[in-house]
């Protein structure tokens, strides 16, 4: 390891604010790039499941109506 203490790692000889903000912003963007589409797919899947359940309930209702 190049840095001999945590404080020197954070300070980076005065460049700490630049380096760490660059890494922080990148971490946020990269995580969002991976998480956003997966969340979109999951939300869609839940929506489709809801539709399927409603459709099944509807057809069951209409079946009952026909019987009675």
């Amino acid at each position: 390891m190049y840095f001999d203490s945590v404080s020197s790692l954070i300070a980076m000889d005065g460049h700490g604010a630049f380096v760490w903000s660059a890494y922080g912003i990148s971490a946020v963007v990269l995580i969002a790039l991976l998480v956003a589409p997966m969340r979109r797919r999951r939300r869609l899947m839940a929506e489709l499941k809801g539709e399927a359940r409603r459709a099944a309930a509807n057809s069951a209702n209409s079946l009952e109506a026909e019987v009675s």
């Binding site: 390891m1 190049y2 840095f3 790692l9 980076m12 000889d13 005065g14 460049h15 700490g16 630049f18 380096v19 903000s21 660059a22 890494y23 912003i25 990148s26 963007v29 990269l30 969002a32 790039l33 991976l34 589409p37 997966m38 979109r40 797919r41 869609l44 899947m45 489709l48 499941k49 399927a52 359940r53």
Partner: protein
């Protein structure tokens, strides 16, 4: 060979295979990103002129390289969807746009943060920086154009044309540092001839570039899966998938 293309055009096959690829590629990507960033941040020596600020290179260069590669993906997919009306190519083109835009944004932001301690300015109207800004606008233009059309088939066509026309910007970006007098340094890594970067910095940089490529692939596939599910929601295979998943 042709059967492979045939499969590639099949939504259920692509949905399933991309899910399998993501299952192993995603963990590899995350590990490579963390290792690459930690290597660059902790285990390399500072640059003899720029000091520690140079550590931004491990984000800036991969983001810039992959944002350009992403544009090829988007433009080629656009061309395929325009010529052969392949639905999956259309989805790939639209899936690449937000990922490319985000990476171009990152390249610009990390570049600005790096520029401040190194050049003394966040931004200069330099050929490299300006052509990268145009790249960001091209990506955003494709996204906005698609949203602007009510008729999605026409929207895809317009997006593909815009993506193809925008490729003129790519060689300009590559050559900008050679053609114009520029603050931005020319490439340090060369395919022909000796690279002007020490191997102790080159290896972590290579790892980060590979990790960004992997991340682009993951994000592209994940985007495509969501769009496939959305567009194919009325089909039998999606209905089966939904009932099996319940």
């Amino acid at each position: 060979m042709w059967s492979f293309f045939h499969k590639l055009g099949s939504p259920p096959w692509l949905f399933q295979i991309s899910g399998q690829i993501l299952r192993w590629l995603l963990p590899i990507t995350v590990v490579a990103l963390v290792v690459g960033a930690a290597w660059g941040l902790l285990f390399t020596s500072p640059d003899f002129r720029q000091g520690n600020s140079y550590r931004i290179i491990y984000l800036h260069v991969p983001a810039a390289v992959v944002s350009l590669a992403g544009y090829y993906v988007m433009a080629i997919a656009g061309a395929i969807s325009l010529i052969w009306k392949m639905k999956m190519a259309d989805i790939a083109m639209l899936a690449a746009a937000p990922v490319g835009a985000a990476l171009t944004f990152l390249a610009l932001v990390t570049g600005a943060i790096w520029g401040k301690p190194t050049w003394g300015a966040w931004w200069v109207w330099d050929a490299r920086l300006t052509s990268m800004l145009i790249l960001l606008f091209l990506y955003l233009g494709v996204i906005a154009l698609y949203e602007a059309y009510e008729n999605k088939a026409a929207a895809s066509k317009a997006c593909a044309v815009l993506a193809l026309v925008g490729t003129v910007n790519i060689p300009i970006i590559y050559k900008s540092v050679d053609w114009w007098y520029s603050l931005h340094q020319p490439a340090s890594i060369k395919f022909t001839g000796e690279s002007t970067i020490d191997s102790s910095m080159l290896y972590p940089l290579m790892l980060c570039i590979a990790a960004f490529y992997a991340l682009f692939t993951c994000a592209l596939l994940a985007n495509m899966r969501a769009t496939i599910l959305d567009r194919e929601r009325k089909t039998g295979w999606v209905q089966r998938l939904v009932s099996e998943d319940a």
